[in-house]
């Protein structure tokens, strides 16, 4: 009788151990999304005015893509800062299969030069981080296929004749795998960086 109980305890303990192992190694984890991005290939520009074939230039790499406009004072700089923190964490952990990109939904004002200034003043390390802008229609198509809303608000003019307007916009960072599929979406400005890092690790090299 006693040996039967002992055997049962042993079996249960082994099963529990297996379950713990399964969860901790991440093999059992599934990311919530697995859908094509629907993006048609286009030519975009980075902060140096170099042509980036999007999304093909990122095929074979995990891509973390966020959406911003540089005239945004509050939300978008938070997103950019989070992207920078993620970049630093990836570097610390020697994860080299990830590319980070921030796409402007305000291409009319966010020229490559403006994007470069926006990045430079924040000491962006462009090694695996790029800004993207382009033709308004191309950008609009990408935003539509990725469900990103960006609506310009009322325009005002300052005394010096400067035109001022802000966007109401989706606050997002999207995780795209090396096959170009959307695997998860996060808030950009207030986000759980560790969760993004974990998701990236789950995808693996």
């Amino acid at each position: 009788m006693k040996t039967t109980i002992n055997k049962m305890v042993n079996i249960l303990a082994t099963a529990a151990l297996l379950l713990i192992l399964l969860y901790s190694c991440g093999c059992g984890q599934k990311l919530p999304e697995n859908r094509p991005s629907g993006i048609k290939p286009v030519r975009l520009l980075n902060q140096d005015s170099s042509i980036i074939n999007f999304p093909d230039a990122f095929k074979g790499k995990t891509l973390l893509l966020s959406f911003i406009y540089t005239n945004c004072p509050d939300i978008c700089p938070m997103t950019t800062h989070n992207m920078q923190l993620i970049q630093e964490q990836l570097k610390k952990e020697n994860i080299d299969y990830v590319r980070l990109a921030e796409m402007s939904f305000d291409p009319a004002r966010d020229t490559p030069h403006i994007l470069k200034e926006f990045g430079d003043i924040r000491d962006i390390d462009y090694k695996n981080f790029t800004f993207l802008t382009g033709n308004s229609q191309d950008i609009k198509n990408i935003l539509d296929s990725m469900n990103i809303l960006a609506l310009p608000g009322d325009t005002t003019k300052t005394e010096s004749g400067n035109i001022v307007y802000f966007f109401t916009h989706t606050d997002r960072i999207t995780l795209i795998d090396k096959e170009g599929k959307i695997r998860n979406e996060y808030r950009g400005s207030k986000t759980n960086i560790q969760q993004i890092i974990n998701d990236i690790k789950t995808l693996g090299d």
Binding site: P73, E117, F118, D123, L151, V164, T168, S189
Partner: protein
């Protein structure tokens, strides 16, 4: 009379006012926009309100609040003034209240400083130096 007035001024400078703490600004290039954040600590027993901020480093300075819409999108709206109840702290922080700096007249590099004048209903005019930092 002069003595009386200067004594009054001296007394006034010692009387408790709303304290402005941890003022900081995001880095931004000349011609772009930025935001100023801080804590307002009303140590007094009287409510006050912040209704204006000015700076020589920006063409337009406004009080703003970031708002989240029902569809999840984010936007901002201008606000006329912000009440600071007695014995309370009001935070201007990322994703919430901020002082919006439009069309900067100079680049704000990390670690540099920028000066502001705050206008309170009761406490009057207060000069504040903010530090530029990435956060």
């Amino acid at each position: 009379m002069v003595l009386f007035l200067s004594l009054l001024a001296l007394l006034n400078s010692f009387s408790p006012k709303v304290k402005i703490e941890n003022a900081w600004v995001r880095p931004a290039a000349r011609g772009m926009n930025s935001a100023l954040y801080f804590n307002l600590d009303n140590v007094t027993t009287k409510a006050d309100a912040l209704y204006k901020v000015t700076s020589k480093s920006a063409e337009v300075v406004q009080l703003h609040s970031t708002v989240k819409n029902n569809d999840g999108t984010m936007g901002m709206k201008e606000i006329k003034q912000i009440a600071i109840p007695a014995k309370s702290v009001v935070k201007f922080e990322p994703g919430g209240y901020h002082v919006m700096l439009i069309n900067l007249k100079r680049s704000l590099r990390p670690h540099s400083k920028i000066e502001f004048t705050f206008y309170f209903k009761s406490a009057g005019k207060v000069k504040v130096k903010a530090i530029v930092k990435k956060e």
